[in-house]
Structure formats: C-alpha cells, structure tokens
Symmetry: C2
Subunit: 202 residues, 2 copies
C-alpha cells in the first residue's frame, strides 16, 4: 500500500465505529476530522461523498464483525455443530463499538425515507442488503452441505433456517441492548440449539 | 381539551411519523415546523426541548402501534390462541410510518453513545425501555393466566417466552425491511405458532 491507500484505510477504520455508534445523520464530517486529525479536503480526497465513506465504513465494520463470527467454524466437521458454533460466536464475540453493524445500519440507512419508497441513503442500503445476503448464503451453504453429506435432514429449508437463526439473534440482541442484559441473547442461543438438535440434525 | 392542549397533541401526532422515519438526528425542528405550519416558538411553548418532544412522539407512536397489535385479543378465551392472534396482529397490522417504533427508537436513542456507557438521548432510552417492559408484561400476563387456568404448561417460563416472541418478530421484521419482503415475518409467525402448539399449549 502506498501512503494514499494507507490514509484511506485509516479514515475508514476511524470512521466505522463513529458511524456505527452515532448513525449516519449523527456522525458529521467534523467528527471524522476530529478523529483522524485530517482537514476536510484530506478526507474528500479519498471519498466522493459522506455517503461513500459511510458505505466503506459499513463494509469494514461488517467484515470485522463477520470474521469474528466465523472463527473456528472451518475446523468443525459436523454441520449442525458448525451452525451452533456460529451462533455461539455471535453471542460471545460481537464486540464492534456500537453493536451489530447490520442492525444499526439497516435502521440508519432508512433515515430520511418517506413511506418506504425512497431513501436518503440508497448506497448504504445496498451494502446492508449485500451484507445480509452474504450471511444468508454462508448459513445456507452449511445447511446444503449438511443435507448432501447426511448430517442435516432432507426436508430442512436452507433459506428459512438461515432467516430463523439471523432473526432470533438480531431480535434478541435488540432486546438485550434495551435492557442492558446478556440474557436475551443467551436464551435465543438455547432456543436455537434445541431447535437445531430436534428439527435439523439428521 | 383547550386550544393549547389540542395544539400540543397535534404537534406530537405530526412529529411522531417524522421521528420514526428519519431518526432523532435526522429530524430537525425545522422539519416539524414545516409539517405543523408553526413557528419555532409555537413548538417550544409546548415542549421544553427537542428531546422531550421526541419522547412524547415515541410514546404516541408506540401507543398507536400497540393498540393495533392488541386488537381482538380480549375476545379470545384460550391463552395460546391469544398469543397467536397477537403475533398475527404484529405481522399484518404494524403500519406506523417508518415501521416498528421500538426497533427504530432503540437504535436511534443509542446514537451518540460511546461504548454503551452514555447516551445522547437518555430520556428517549427510558421510554423505549418502558415500552419493552409493557410489551413483556402484557405477554407475561397472558402466559401466567394460562398457567393458572390450565391452558398453558406449568413449566413455561413467562419471561423467556415473551422475549422469544418479541425477538422473533422484531428480528424477522429487520430482515424483511432489508429485503423489502413479508416472507421473513410470515416464516417467524409459522415458527412461533408451531412452537406454541408443541411446547406451550397444555
């Protein structure tokens, strides 16, 4: 990486927790200037707009979060156990400042939208949709592999199971955030583990 | 109601969809002046601060949403059926502009918070917590009534079941919002109905 690329990377890394904690509207270019020590021109040299920077920052936040949720998965041969480890990683390893970037950015990127038709942040919205699709695909592949190799029941709908897992952990994270408690997420983990053992494992 | 009280009520009703769609940071007093046709002084005569108005607007949005989710519940004698109707109402009747106020405001009210310790919106945060507690209590009472009257199994944990229902529908609503689809919520309804019949009904 040359100096310009390093600066661009540093701006993204500094901006990501700010956008995730404060939201798109709540994080100004001034906040990012303060965090990076750069002038406005030094930031806009690397990004065409605040929206473009926010999109790159979301991708960085999501990549960081996703990597921690994928840890140790490849070494687990059984597919149900792999799903269970992923859920456990979500519960114990989602540590990005401000919490899950998907939850936050899905809500923030709708800010400014009128009756769901238009959005103030179409670029950010596309990134959020791609992040969700990537997560669904990752889970779906584990399920399909398991079905092919006989560890997961034939009748399991990969897409529905992926959404059941994502919906349960994201919803529980929302409750836990409001209550400042880990219990909702731990209860969701228990519920999903039970479901996976009883309805998914071959 | 006298004229002042009517004006106050009208400001809350006009501001509620704006805050819910745009977020606290994304909705300015100017936006509310434009929507109501009032001067700044005409708004601040009724509310001490933007934060106070946002809190009242959230309470209105939540009361409206909750009322639609409670419809037809009292006429259903069986407690499991009552839970199922509530979930069905959530899926088919959450029509407040901008979507579920609890999901939105839980995320928005954290804007400005640093590592979860402080918040830019402590007032709003308290209202969100009270709203969640009210929802949990309402579901918990149905479960406890059902346990006492023999329609719900003794061993069901009312608090965990309430969170399971809330987490599933809120998480599915998040996925559906990103995908612009009703399917995640309908799948969550199916999952919960199955769970209620198999694990909760006496």
């Amino acid at each position: 990486m040359n100096k310009g690329e390093l600066t661009r990377k540093r701006i993204i890394e500094e901006a990501a927790p700010l956008f995730n904690q404060r939201g798109y509207e709540g994080c100004s270019i001034q906040d990012i200037m303060d965090a990076t020590g750069l002038e406005k021109g030094g930031i806009y040299r690397h990004f065409g707009s605040k929206e473009e920077l926010a999109a790159e920052a979301f991708d960085f936040a999501w990549a960081t979060t996703s990597a921690s949720r994928l840890r140790e998965l490849d070494s687990i041969p059984d597919h149900v156990d792999r799903l269970k480890q992923h859920i456990m990683n979500f519960v114990t390893r989602t540590r990005f400042p401000g919490g899950c970037p998907l939850l936050n950015t899905a809500v923030y990127s709708e800010s400014g939208s009128e009756n769901g038709q238009t959005s103030a942040n179409p670029v950010l919205r596309v990134r959020v949709r791609e992040a969700l699709q990537g997560w669904q695909r990752m889970l779906g592949e584990i399920v399909e592999d398991g079905k092919r190799l006989g560890t997961i029941r034939e009748e399991v709908d990969a897409c529905k199971l992926a959404n059941l897992i994502i919906g349960n952990v994201e919803g529980a994270m929302l409750i836990g955030r409001i209550e400042h408690s880990d219990y909702p997420l731990r209860d969701a983990l228990e519920h999903l583990n039970e479901y996976l053992e009883e309805r998914v494992r071959q």
